[in-house]
């Protein structure tokens, strides 16, 4: 047992492991960059950088590779065991030790961001004419969710949410069933397409999936910009205790959710971009854009908003270099439209919303790494000067 433990410690603290991991990181960085020629950045991140392993196909040859998530996990272990725990502790390695602590901190920050961050957008319309003027939630640019809710005759609604990661990668022949004690039916998902189109069955000419209510879902190639993909899938609600089945197509571009009546109860089922609630509400009061003279290129744009939280209101200006930071969320002024609007047309303002508990970790870890390297460099320099002096006087 002791031999096994020593062997593992030797393995995880070895330079060989570090070099191997760094080599694979280089390979995956290269392949990921190369693949961005053909697919969206989001898909490359999913495939290469968020995965524990992947199969890269080139010239028809499948090449299994470790994913960056696995590699960085092992690299962190290697740094901790080899670069911090087992490293010889002396004044000569003090700077290196600090630098290693900084690197591990940065990797830890990345892990926190990967698992805990939320990134999306909130779009609000002036005057509420063409869309909501007020919102207390924001949507993901890339991720999906299926939302099932019972619609009461009056009062609030409880939404049951199936996150996209549980169905978006479903194999064509597989089905996934989602259950809850709060629902009188099971939700079964199948034939998931990351980008799709719903067409009348008469237009599909044999393509597409099963026909439901005269329509079928046709798979499309994914867009270069993942934000433009329109996911689609088939869903079946199977009433418990052997009851009836209800089938439908859910499509990202649908105008309305699928609403099903089961006896006296009404349920809605929707496929939409993943949503997150924020603990406050934002109302768009006014949006302004200033163009460069003589052009239609915006020099700056800003929004006057009212933040409503716990009954209290606060007027805030959000502009290109002055985001709103509150309750762990940051709202950046990131866009506006319609960009083809005639003068006088009510505009909408888009805020990028980010929640990242570790957003300052990269900055501070860089400081620590720089400090460690500086200490080590100065030590090396002093030793070199001393050695040169000794040689000169010898």
């Amino acid at each position: 047992m002791k031999r096994l433990l020593n062997g593992l410690l030797a393995l995880f603290s070895s330079y060989g492991l570090a070099v191997t991991l760094l080599f694979f990181l280089f390979v995956l960085t290269f392949l990921g960059t190369w693949e961005q020629r053909f697919t969206s950045l989001y898909e490359v991140q999913r495939q290469f950088f968020d995965s524990t392993w992947l199969v890269y196909r080139r010239f028809g040859v499948p090449i299994p590779l470790p994913g960056v998530y696995l590699l960085l996990t092992l690299l962190s272990i290697n740094l901790i065991v080899g670069g911090i725990v087992r490293i010889r502790k002396s004044s000569a390695t003090f700077g290196i030790l600090i630098a290693h602590v900084g690197i591990v901190t940065m990797l830890a920050g990345g892990l926190i961001e990967y698992h805990s961050s939320q990134k999306g957008h909130m779009t609000l319309h002036e005057n509420g004419q063409r869309g909501p003027q007020q919102a207390d939630e924001f949507k993901s640019y890339h991720e999906w969710e299926i939302v099932v809710a019972e619609i009461p005759r009056q009062g609030g609604v409880i939404e049951l949410v199936i996150p996209g990661k549980q169905f978006i990668d479903l194999r064509p022949e597989a089905t996934a069933t989602f259950v809850s004690d709060e629902l009188p039916f099971d939700v079964t998902v199948s034939r998931v397409a990351r980008n799709s189109r719903v067409v009348p069955a008469s237009q599909a000419r044999g393509g597409g999936g099963p026909v439901i209510d005269g329509f079928t879902l046709v798979d499309l190639p994914q867009m270069k910009e993942a934000e433009q993909d329109s996911a689609g899938l088939y869903v079946t609600l199977s009433e418990k205790n052997g009851g009836a089945r209800h089938d439908a197509i859910l499509w990202a571009m649908q105008d309305l959710p699928w609403v099903v009546e089961m006896g006296a109860r009404t349920y809605s089922v929707d496929l939409s971009r993943r949503r997150w609630k924020v603990p406050f509400s934002i109302v768009l009061d006014d949006f302004r854009k200033v163009d460069h003279p003589g052009t239609m290129m915006p020099a700056s744009f800003e929004s006057d908003v009212t933040k409503i939280e716990g009954g209290a209101t606060e007027r805030i200006n959000i502009s290109m270099n002055r985001p709103l930071r509150h309750a762990g969320y940051t709202l950046f002024q990131s866009g506006w439209g319609p960009q083809n609007a005639a003068p006088g047309t009510p505009l909408f303002s888009t805020f990028s919303v980010v929640r990242n508990p570790a957003d300052s970790v990269p900055l501070w870890s860089c400081y620590v790494i720089a400090a460690g390297l500086l200490i080590h460099f100065v030590q090396k320099l002093v030793r070199h000067i001393q050695a040169e002096n000794r040689r000169a006087t010898a």
Binding site: V161, K165, R171, V187, V198, Q254, D255, T266, R275, P338
Partner: protein, 368 residues
Amino acid sequence: MRTHLPLCLTALALAAGCGGYSSGGRHEIEIRRTLDEPRRGSDTPVDSATRFGYRRTDRGGDATAGSDIGYDVPRGWEELPPAQFRNPNFRIPGRDALECYVTVLPGGGGDVAMNVNRWRGQMGLEPISEAEVAALPRKTLMGREGVAVELEGTYGGMSESPRTGYKMVGVLVQLPMVGITVKMVGPAADVDAEKAGLESLCASIRLSAGGGMPPGHGSTGGGGAESGAMTWTVPEGWTVGGGGQFRLVTLHPGGNAEVECYVTVLTGDGGGVTANLNRWQSQLGLEPLSDAEVEALPTVDVLGVASPLLAAKGDFKGMGGTERDAAGLIAIVCPLGSHTLFVKMTGPVEGVFAARDGFEAFVRSIRQ
């Protein structure tokens, strides 16, 4: 260690890769979210045609692939319900394999070259270079110069089984912030037989009344013309030219391509009257005007506003790097409060000043 290392990595990778959701299975729904009231449209069952936008109800919200263009259905053609990226959408009775539709893509859906090569890919053809795209025949669509495409090959379409002996014809035009394509694809003989109908459709496409299309989408021809909320009278002998970024319309006095007169509308003051006049002065290599000199400029009544008119000559250097010696410039700035109207005519000095009367008549004819 050397043998252990790859084995460890592989074992870890396989272990970590097991599981996941790609195989399906049965899962508990764990995430709950509360709302104060139901989301829009979630309380009333509707049929699939309504849900997918094939039959719109008056419920507001965002339009998908909505079309603000007008058109005349060619004789013998029938209109289908709009589909994603197909609005309007047509069928030709007796030619069931033929598809014809118009696509309006906010943002353009990629540039013209990209879309030409996308169509070529659908026909099983190799992509062509941007220079080759630029050399393709031109066709006017909605008063703008577009690229005409005619392809023969094996049509794969979007995830359809390949069909040999097919032809694809179409026009692609890129307007500011939006791209418009008209496309017909089907068996080559059917396409050839319906080319006249396609020509008729392209000629009829226009902005619909009160359409929400942006400034810069131009007019559809000479005589009376309109763009968005503005109308004007094109002077006799003047032609409507190709589009450009930020322009409501571009005109050529006497059909002279070297002289161009274009209309731009900017929100706010667009930088101000004096700043823009002096920007034009500097483009001609001239000294800036003082406030007194700006005040002393002649004015033209545009939309009820006495708008200063600048008429100048010099060596022109434009924003895009265009250079011309002995250039003329005649322009007006019309501040309208929430926005500012600019009308500017540039070109060889003789051509510009010969068209001065027409310029003044044109700007006086602008209505909002």
